[in-house]
Amino acid sequence: MSDFVLFDEEFQQIKEVIGRLKMDAQAKVVFIVDKNGQQIAAQGDLESLDTTSLASLTAGNVAATDGLAKLIGEKEFPVLFHEGERDNVYISIVGQRVILVVIFDERSSLGLVRLRVRKATQDLERIFDAIQKKVEEEKERRHEGIDSPFAEITDDDIDSLFRE
């Protein structure tokens, strides 16, 4: 299985897209998580938010719902929506790879969020396609002898992580 790699160029593009989405959808927070629960990027009022936990729980939620879908013979449930008293969470899958999460309150609406997410999803799919291509090119280049930054990791490097 290939690793997920994020480069600075695409990271900036992703942040731009979700920053725009946050504004257009009048959302409080927008963030992107990979399906394994690693946070990729976030925009909005993050101070009061434990985004690492959020990422892991979102991925768990999507994984459980995916399992549920397969059980009843659906491919997936592309959208999950949780409605709270104050805040609502809109979760959607981008290009079957990553998860887009939008948190919003009464200043926005489900209709508006859905509309803006659709637009942003197209942009994000394009960016993630580009990342994939880059990773594959990188891999080929490596076969021609260019080292990864970790090729030189030594036992000492690793032992030093555990020194107290």
Partner: protein, 194 residues
């Protein structure tokens, strides 16, 4: 699936603690959580039943420090050990970089250990992983109990590929960090090959 973030200069790795029900997986994470500097850890999330059995997973994010200019972040997960939670167990293995198998040393749990190990092998396969090649550590837990079998007998039955093996008593922390360190080391060594 290691997540290498060049933008934030971070490596994210996922480690899963596997093993039969009540073998001490959650206890391992709790000990690590209790003994880790607040600045190096996130919240410990436990999705558990009312009787403290893991229902879906425990999750603990850890920062181990910097290697070659990259922050190394480990996401530790436990699976629910009870047999009937197999569907959830499978989900947690998604994208795993390294596995710790926590065995229960008690004689009466030997069959459960063997069954859980076979279950691990099968569930890894369904995600396209292979226990023979994935970073892997065996922990023989509950060494403090009088009903514990001799370690070499456990090893004979549970050793899979000559993996690093540690005797542990998770509630007091014996063997807990040695186990974590051994699996983290293998995961980082894997990066060398990529």
């Amino acid at each position: 699936m290691t997540f290498i973030n060049y933008a934030a200069r971070e490596i994210n790795c996922k480690i899963v603690y596997y093993g039969p029900g009540l073998c001490g997986k959650t206890t391992n994470l709790q000990y690590i959580y209790d003994r880790t500097n607040p600045s190096a850890k996130g919240k410990l999330i436990s999705l558990a039943t009312e009787t403290d059995r893991t229902l879906f997973f425990d999750f603990l994010p850890l920062d181990l420090g910097t290697v070659r200019g990259f922050k190394t972040r480990f996401h530790l997960y436990t699976v629910p050990g009870q047999v009937f939670y197999d569907a959830s167990r499978k989900l947690i293995l998604k994208g795993v970089d390294g596995v710790v198998f926590v065995a229960d040393s008690q004689d009466a749990r030997m069959d459960a250990n063997v069954e859980s190990l076979q279950n691990l092998e099968k569930n890894l396969k369904e995600h396209g992983f292979d226990l023979t090649t994935i970073p892997y550590v065996l922990q023989l837990n509950k060494r403090d109990l009088p009903t514990a079998l001799p370690a070499d007998e456990l090893y004979r039955q549970l050793n899979y590929k000559g993996e690093p093996t540690f005797e542990a008593t998770a509630p007091t922390g014996v063997g807990v960090f040695d186990t974590l360190k051994a699996v983290a080391k293998q995961v980082l060594m894997e990066l060398r090959k990529k």
